[in-house]
Amino acid sequence: MSIKKTTLTFAAASFAASLMATSAMAADTIKIAFIDPLSGPFASTGSNGLREWKFAVEDLVNSRGGLLGGKKIEVIAFDNKISPKETLIQLKNAIGQGIQYVAQGNSSGVANALTSAIKKHNKRNPDKRVIHLNYAAVDPALTNAKCSYWHFRFDANVDMKMNAITDTIAGRKDIKKVYIIGQDYSFGKAVSAAAVKFLKEKRPDIQIVGNELHPIGKVKDFTPYVTKIKAAGANAIITGNWGGDMLNLAKAATSVGLDSSFFTYYAAGAGITAALGPVAKDKVFNVGEGHANPTVTKTWDDYQSRFKAKHPKKDVTYGRVPYTVRMFAKAVTKAGSAKPIDVARALEGMELTTMAGDKVKMRAEDHQLIMPIQVSVHTDDRIKFDYDNSGWGLRTISSTPAESNALPTTCKMERPKG
């Protein structure tokens, strides 16, 4: 009896204490809801994102005194299991907790659903507006036909990245036949369309020998696909596959002895680099904000070192997360307020120099970050920051300047009055 009583009192006391703690925290933190897959086939991609967001926020903002005179940023995780339906439930959940910033990136399908839900929400609740900080969903539509004032994209979109990839392909005269394979949803379709368009412009002599989509997250053995690719005689493959779909595609390709070049969006980290290993040396190319190696600046080198010191088994897989956090922090400081309406206004047209020394700018017209894009190669040559502790990593081979990536937009966004 007495034990029960003490436990009860203790439980009540700790419950009260925790209530007090949360309400005290709520007063001086800026909360960001991190909504991405934390379970299921893409769990590892999502949890890498979460880890890197938390680290960047801690390292770049909170440990340096926070924002607006001491306010800390708090990243709160919500698992959407990569499903748009689940995402909207989690969004409601986050809004219910009074959160006004949402970080999401994995899957453009999810991003489309999220951003249109936020648009509606903001229209109905002008006092509780929400901003979508998109750090990885790259469907061009999000900053074109479906653009929204409340959506900011900190990653180069499919077309911008394909522009960089095809620049590299244009310089490779040995490539005559290209096979395009991707996941069957908005992103995979966008990659395929962009590849066809840019190849026609830059290398009309290249023959596209295959262009196909497979169900996302469902194919485990890609052997039949790579057998087909091999039979088609392709010497380059373009794919936007990510997570398990990229890993399994690469595994199957090595098992049938496919020795073509791979031009990819996401073939690095989260076990993929280790699985590729020596067979993929100088054959797998990755497009993105790059700079894993060489690190270019000491600041960027130090940041990666600090991350490795804290998470020795993990890697910085999203080079854009630190500058997303920095730009967000800069916007809050510039606005002098953590209210979304002020922060959004401050973000428009904002410029920043990333830790790796790249100059980036948030284009006001469509809320697309205009940035230099690097193409890197999978190698073990002069790799300081490897992936998966495998000794293998990415090394930048070329860079397209920000100006040439500023592709035109069709966005006509509705701006809030007042």
Binding site: S39, A43, D184, V219, T227, K228, N248, G257
Partner: protein
Amino acid sequence: MIETTIFSLLNGLVYGLLLFMLSSGLTLIFSMMGVLNFAHASFYMLGAYFAYEMSIHIGFWPALILAPIAVGFAGAALERYGLRNVHKYGHVAELVFTFGIAFLIEEVVQFIWGKDQQPYNAPPLLDFPLFTLFNVDFPAYKAFMLFVSIAIFIALLVVLTKTRVGLIIQAAITHPHMVGMLGHNVPLVFMATFGVGTALAGIAGVIAAPVLGTYPGMAFDLGSIIFVVVVFGGLGSLAGAFVASLMIGIVQTFAVSFNIGMPDLLALLGLEFGADHFLVDLWTISLPQIGPLIPYLMLIIMLIFRPLGLFGSREV
């Protein structure tokens, strides 16, 4: 064309036999105990993770033997201390119990090994192309998978049809009460069957994971398809499970390999639709895109026309 056909056939066979290794255990357990074991694919996952962990310390080959045994014991323990107690509350309780276990195993695996894919790979000894046909390699590891699955199939066949134990099991499948009356220890037979069934799933996990990947979602990904196999083949029928596994394995692989689509069909009919047609997604659909759906389509058709399944004798 010929090379695609040959390789599709080989890959389909590998995949089909893998499905059989999983579905044979499931169907054995079902026919004996009347329980559809929802956690069956979780034991497949356990096999993969056990083998991965063991292979780090003792190498691939000892792990190949020890991991399925460990899984079998885990399965037997689950039957003895879990299912047997739930049994008296009827089949629904058992179903819900195994359903819960599936979630539990997934969470435990994530807790121990995390969410990332584990670098569990084919042993270096088998990491070479066995033969190269039309410039495409056939990996030795796949041949090894084929060999193990066939060996297991033959062993299962011999045990079930030629041994005394097999006779008791067969009898217990159809007349469990009668077997009990004859003085056989039916609970022991149940526990052993559950153990062997889960060990078979464990073997499947050990040999398939280097190809299909070792990650916490692997049970869920394969779970639904093995239910399709056992229902399509006929609940409780091993022969049915065998034929259904091979059919589904081969059909799925062929579907991926041949780029036949609606445009070709429509062209045959002399029809053509513009790229701006409002049903453009439907008119441009191709076989590889719907490949993964085909088994489920086959299941639905089977259930409509023959609810017993291919060789089944029990209603679903």
